[in-house]
Point group: C2
Chain length 402, copies 2
């Protein structure tokens, strides 16, 4: 919303008799291109009755991103994720993963085609900026987990041609490309496999942003060594603030920044504060889902009962929940350690993310208030909310074209 | 347009004082579900400035199918084709073919998503009938040429999951699945290869209609032997009327019908009347295309000059062109040989088809006039224009489900 905001600010200036007037945090938020690098929202696209054009309520159906709420939150676009769970590592699993990812990608393309007045698929930073200028929400596509490519790396080009411009090699479990940061079995390759190294080279060649979120520290380190272009950790935290396998240590944070990359701080409670595992709570939540279906799909006439039962479970087995203070600690640690050019945000929305105060995309202006209070200028906000990632996108594509 | 036509006819009856009044051919055409099994129109989807929602003129841009003309021609839907040229038969060609077909399929899905008020993707006969009832044009998807699957037959399921419900194994040239009817080198497999036989089995298992158009007679014969379900020749003619490799002999026509299948008579001039090869004409047409680009893409300001130059070439090197009499001969031969349950039509539009009098989809009612004059009843028209193909679709899917 840069142009419109600029015009509005000019009119304010003119009306006030050319006396300079400090913009409010809300105005500063409007001026920035605001994106999130990890919307798991496409998982909702095929749900019966769910439309991205409707306004949903997080407290009711648990979803966190839709068009009306993007408008409310001043969110200009994002990286929409094709998430593929790691089903196995044989030829059947490879085909399943390939098909799953192709179909999910197509669902995103169908969404942008169907709602072309409000959304537009983009593949470059310039296209994203053009979308903002014309008032449409931009949609980058990313693969979360390289499993769809594990059986045949030539599919990377297929997904590229379909519009995918960001890919992460691995998810919760080790796979044929890389070690995960969270596989209970521990490392298998000591980082990247030979195929994982080919994944990095091919992504570089095509101009696909590599996203090492979920990869083990060793795999991240090797991607940093190997890649000819900067990387984006699309949703990760820092170990210096909270020691969790999904967060990265300062030496890798510095290496990431030295290569020009960005960490998009993940607003995911379980990776930010000590979160005990309560088997009784988990069992009760599973039983609740078995009774009503997933929260998003609970029948309207059963909503009230569902929410009451869930509240009872939460009351009986409370879990600590990260808040904006925790989030600010991660963000400010990155800024202090490697500077404003290497940080951004992801809510990990519709993928388990969200913390107290940052429950869905409507809450992003509240984070801008905190950032401004912490001293962020307009330029800092511009970088944090989108500029850094768009810069990396350009660098990655320039490196590929060379 | 069944319901609306029925209502109109009821009003006519009521107005005429309940005296029975024979419906006109135009009314009979409206009452039938009218489809074409081979629209090559998706090749136009990615052309700059071309939209299926605009009314085009065949005489000007050479295209033959769009929404306004489907409405004019009383056409309710069709099989939209993902055509893949046979580029080669190595691993690089296999990947190219796979990606080409996936991208073309996605273009069709994006078209139906973008124009969802006017078009709808369908995968069953019932869905097609529902589309007609709600006034939307139905879109089946077919693969013309099995080359996209040649490297990995598991991709058949991928395309199935994307909505494809008809597939032909081969096009102009022999490939890894089957012999073509038109490969200058002659037969290579003597019909189907082992992979081609697997193609038939997998298509049967999934409930995909097998389309042996373009296959050699031997390959067609083997598909008829092997398939557990009826076949549809989506755009073919009969040798008894004109002896051309793209037309089938009466023994195979009978075998096709015995298995419950359908031949959709192809309105493709070069396969219907003796068409000499005039090298000077071809050279002149190639030079014309080099000068102006393909007809569809000729710049508006150059259209007049282009059309004048083309008319001059046509005048200098005239070619005989099939007409409605020729087409009726093919149709009536099929009816006389195997009956009304095994015949339909394809214009092969946007793929080289069209004859004098049947230049684009707006002309379909003219064919209905000819058919009625030849004695077709409403029931015959219902079968010819869509019922036969929808019946086979149901039989194929029932056989798969078993």
């Amino acid at each position: 919303m840069f142009r419109r905001a600029l015009l509005a600010s000019f009119l304010v200036l003119a009306a006030s008799g050319a006396h300079a007037q400090a913009p409010t945090p809300a105005q500063m938020h409007e001026r920035a291109i605001v994106l999130d690098t990890h919307f798991d929202t496409p998982a909702n696209f095929s749900a019966r009755g769910w439309s991205i054009m409707d306004r949903h309520d997080y407290a009711v159906d648990g979803t966190q991103v839709d068009y009306p709420r993007m408008v409310e939150g001043g969110v200009d676009g994002g990286v929409f994720v094709v998430f593929t769970p790691q089903r196995g590592r044989d030829v059947v699993a490879d085909m399943w993963s390939r098909d799953h990812a192709l179909l999910r990608t197509v669902e995103i393309l169908e969404m942008t085609a169907r709602h072309h007045e409000h959304f537009v698929l983009v593949t470059t930073a310039d296209e994203a900026r053009a979308a903002v200028a014309e008032g449409r929400k931009f949609v980058f596509i990313s693969l979360e987990n390289g499993a769809p490519l594990a059986g045949d790396l030539s599919l990377m080009q297929t997904f590229y041609r379909l519009g995918v411009r960001m890919m992460g090699p691995v998810h919760f479990a080790n796979n044929d490309l890389a070690d995960s940061s969270t596989d209970p079995a521990g490392p298998e390759w000591g980082g990247l496999s030979e195929k994982g190294r080919a994944f990095v080279r091919h992504a570089n060649d095509l101009g696909i942003v590599i996203d090492p979120s979920h990869a083990s520290d060793a795999a991240l380190d090797q991607m940093l060594e190997l890649s000819r272009a900067p990387l984006v950790l699309s949703h990760s935290g820092v170990k210096a603030v909270y020691d969790h396998p999904r967060n990265i240590p300062d030496d890798l944070l510095r290496k990431l920044a030295d290569k020009g990359g960005v960490i998009q701080v993940n607003a995911f409670s379980g990776y930010m504060v000590e979160t005990p595992r309560i088997p009784e709570r988990n069992a009760a939540l599973i039983a609740l889902t078995e009774k009503y279906g997933p929260q998003r799909d609970v029948k309207p006439e059963q909503r009230e009962a569902y929410l009451a039962e869930r509240a009872a479970i939460e009351a009986k087995y409370p879990l600590p929940r990260a808040n904006m203070d925790d989030l600010m600690q991660h963000i400010l640690h990155v800024v202090e350690t490697v500077g404003i050019d290497h940080v951004g945000l992801s809510g990990d929305f519709d993928g388990g993310g969200g913390i107290e105060g940052l429950e869905d995309v409507t809450t992003f202006p509240a984070l801008t208030e905190r950032l401004v209070a912490a001293g962020f200028t307009q330029s800092d906000l511009d970088k944090f909310w989108g500029g850094n990632v768009l810069r990396v996108m350009e660098q990655v594509q320039a490196a590929a074209a060379r």
